[in-house]
Amino acid sequence: MLRFIVRRVLQAIPTLLILSILVFAWLRSLPGGPAAALLGDKATPEKIADLNHVLGLDQSIFLQYFKFLGRAITGDFGSSLVSGQPVMSEIGTFLPATIELGLSAIIIAVVLGIPFGYLAARFKGGIADNVIIVLTLVGVAVPIFFLGYIMQDLLSAPLGLPSQGRQAPGIDATAVTNFAVLDGVLTSEWDAVWDAIKHLVLPAFALATIPLAVITRITRASVLDVFNEDFIRTANSKGLTDSVVRQRHVLRNALLPVVTTIGLQTGALLGGAVLTERVFNFRGLGFLLAEGIERRDYPRLQALLLFGALVYVVVNMLVDISYGLIDPRVRVR
């Protein structure tokens, strides 16, 4: 297992290196550039040229890349053009919000998606199946920002759920880890915990819709596949009860593709978080990225895109490892 993990870590290095080249080249190819973004509306061609010189942006692209890589390896991604703060410290400040939101969304998606998928498969062709299929289609098809606005307009006021931010303005919670719910628990500020949970509900459900729909469908398909496997027929013919067959054989075997999907969806959540955090003003990495794109904040974009790639690589690595835990055959291979 250790060799397997080491091999996966080593494989991740060239992946990240190639991604760093792509991200760097892409950002450098965009019109505008950091100097124009820094100077804003008062930029003149002369001032831009001056600033490009100060920032070393008039040097060769290779030299710029190697300088960037040298700094990046030591964790220095420079300062944000928007906030003036070191980008790594921004990531540290904003990451807990995204983890909190992403984790809530994935929990909602898993807790609801697996039973829904199983239910749909079990009653294939019935009313429950059809309703679930239609709902999952809607879940995938409706864009998050649209869904977010609809939720804000229709649900926020009637349910008394906040539509903006992570915390009500009047709540002065003590920040320990920057995880709002956890901080409230740690400091026994129960008002703050309740407030943070309320702020999480709408964005977490908005963000959960796509993974929920995908997990439901994959579970349904996977369970149906397993139902048709020979070993289920064998189990049934051995005289095992339905519930034993379902729990011991069907679910366990059907979960493998579902776990893969959960892993992939966790990575993809970062993409969804950009829109969700923006719509709900939930200040996490997605919010930072959206603001970075709008304001052409190159240092921030470089760091966040590479950080996103790193998360994706790590999550997939964890998924691979969890295969081995769920299905011993993978370990043998």
């Binding site: 008062k42 100060v54 903006q164």
Partner: protein, 558 residues
């Protein structure tokens, strides 16, 4: 069926629970607000900012989001009278230029202290002027955009874009008299003394927290601890905290302020909410008490909810740029006049812009000194436009019309709508339009301003201070790719106007320049749009400023 009944029961229970939660929550929110103050004075106002401030030392930025906050804490020598662009005393009770405009004598207000307890006096004023002039390091100088614009250059320029310095020195004649000596007269004064970038800050705090240290960090810069945590001025509020994670900046009342007095509010919180719809939702939910730049389409709805939509007097201009080095036919003045006569600006302003907006007759808004009604006007006359095109042999004119996307600006609230309206008018007089839409930061500004790829384009300007040179000087004082013309006579007129001493002579020089510009017609002024600010019904004392220069010192949460 039983399942359905159960669901219904659960739903009813859930709705009931939600109702209870909602009621208790709102009660909770009310009680928190009550505790925070209220009752005619005091209390907390939470204001929705459209973007993140970059820092709080206004010296190194030209950003409105930073200024909105710093103008609550810092004072300038001269300020704008609330609600207007007129000048009135601030830290200086009197300011007088010499006859040649090269010396400015400021009589300072007495008994003023910085919020760190140190005295404000002529030495402090001179310290600030010297600080700007002697700023070293290319990183620092390159960020001092307004100082470089107004003062031309530094003691030692560290870039080719800066030139000869206007500033010579500053003398503290006595504690209450500061004398500013210039190398040449500058038309921007005294209005430019109102610029937030020229706010007077506490010398001791500037020194203590290393305010001048600006270092390069990757493709950007980092600033000193002073800029993030310790900005110190004389204003009615003082800095308390900046919570990056929550996007909240908190200021508290500066009890020692005599400028003119401590604020009435106990606390002023700025909450960053970039999305316009989200700001509206937050106001509705009571999370914020006001925000900037409501969408014109929402004015009615907001007023219906009891909110106050305060429309600012216009301080900006939207124009149709003409690049004479684009299509060669645009060099013919008759063709440019045809464009002006061919656009139905009255209709455009009425149907597409917010209330308070007006048709532009020249490139400076009415509130600016130097505006004149005595300019050549180009009322809507499509027949005349067609005739002029015919006379110029340009009846088959085809133009590349550039317009920006992914942006709203106070002068251009909806670029696509504006483009559609204007291009339809131009098509009606027989011009073929080739539309080119580009993202604002992703090509538009470069292509239009740096490379001059367009024939015509949409752009505008929001004024920084009450001086016509800040508008027409910026546009037409020298050769620019954006407009693609060289008119030495006009350049000379504008240079003379810029150097003319303050007062009537200065205003007249710009009136003359404006007449000349509208005869030459290097572009077509379209409108003076009016942005707005919205506050909750209970907020009293906000006065909308044409320069977005609202100070919240008199605000109360009724």
């Amino acid at each position: 069926m039983q399942q359905l009944r159960l669901t219904r029961t659960r739903r009813a229970a859930l709705a009931g629970l939600a109702g209870v939660v909602a009621v208790s929550l709102s009660a909770c929110a009310e009680s928190k607000r009550d505790e925070a103050g209220g009752g005619g004075s005091g209390g907390t106002m939470v204001f929705g900012n459209t973007g993140n401030p970059k820092m709080f030392d206004p010296t190194f930025t030209d950003e409105g989001e930073t200024y909105r906050i710093t103008r609550q804490m810092l004072d300038t020598l001269v300020q704008n009278k609330p609600g207007t662009a007129d000048l009135e005393p601030s830290l200086a009770t009197k300011w007088e230029p010499s006859n040649d405009g090269k010396t400015w004598t400021f009589t300072l207000k007495q008994g003023v202290k910085f919020s760190d307890g140190t005295p404000f006096n002529a030495d402090a004023v001179c310290y600030n002027f010297d600080r700007w002039f002697k700023m070293s390091g290319a990183a620092a100088q390159s960020q001092m955009i307004y100082y470089a614009d107004v003062f031309g250059g530094f003691a030692k320029n560290e870039g080719s874009a800066t030139g000869d310095p206007v500033y010579k020195n500053c003398e503290a004649k006595d504690p209450n008299t500061a004398v500013l000596n210039l190398n040449k007269a500058k038309g921007a004064f005294p209005a430019a003394f109102t610029l937030p970038a020229l706010s007077i800050q506490s010398p001791s705090a500037l020194k203590q927290f290393g305010a001048d240290k600006v270092t390069q960090s990757g493709d950007s810069f980092t600033y000193s601890e002073y800029a993030y945590k310790h900005v110190t001025g004389t204003g009615p509020f003082k800095f308390e905290s900046w919570d990056q994670g929550k996007g909240e900046i908190t200021l508290v009342r500066n009890d020692t302020s005599t400028m003119p007095a401590p604020a009435k509010l106990d606390k002023l919180v700025f909450k960053v909410i970039p999305d316009e719809n989200a700001r509206k939702q937050a106001l509705k939910a009571g999370d914020i008490d006001g925000y900037d730049f409501p969408a014109p389409a929402d004015y009615g709805l907001l007023r219906k909810d009891g909110d106050q939509v305060l429309v600012r007097p216009s301080f900006n201009v939207l124009y149709l740029g003409i690049n004479q080095s684009g299509n060669p036919k645009l060099k013919d003045p008759r063709v440019r006049q045809a464009l002006a006569y061919g656009i139905n600006r009255e209709q455009f302003v009425k149907s597409k812009l917010a209330e308070g907006s007006e048709v532009a007759t020249e490139f400076v808004p009415k509130a600016i000194s130097g505006y004149t009604d005595d300019v050549t006007k180009y009322p809507y006359d499509p027949e005349k436009a067609k005739d002029l095109l015919k006379q110029a042999g340009a009846s088959d004119l085809s133009l590349k019309f550039y317009y920006p996307t992914e942006v709203t600006r106070p002068y251009l609230p909806n670029p696509a709508d504006t483009f559609t309206a204007i291009s339809q008018d131009l098509k009606n007089i027989g011009i073929t339009i080739q539309p080119v839409a580009e993202p604002w930061n992703g090509g538009y500004k470069d292509d239009v301003q740096q490379f001059g790829k367009q024939d015509i384009h949409l752009l505008g300007w929001t004024g920084d201070y009450n001086d016509a040179g800040n508008f027409v000087g910026t546009f037409f004082a020298r050769e620019k790719k954006e407009f693609g013309f060289a008119n030495p006579e006009l350049f000379k007129t504008l240079a003379q106007a810029d150097a003319s001493p303050a007062g009537d002579q200065h205003a007249k020089a710009y009136q003359q320049a404006n007449k000349q510009i509208m005869d030459f017609l290097p572009a077509v002024p379209i409108a003076y749009p009016s942005p707005a600010i919205v506050v909750d019904a209970k907020i009293k004392g906000v006065v909308a400023s044409p320069l977005t220069d609202e100070r919240f010192n008199n605000v109360t949460t009724g």
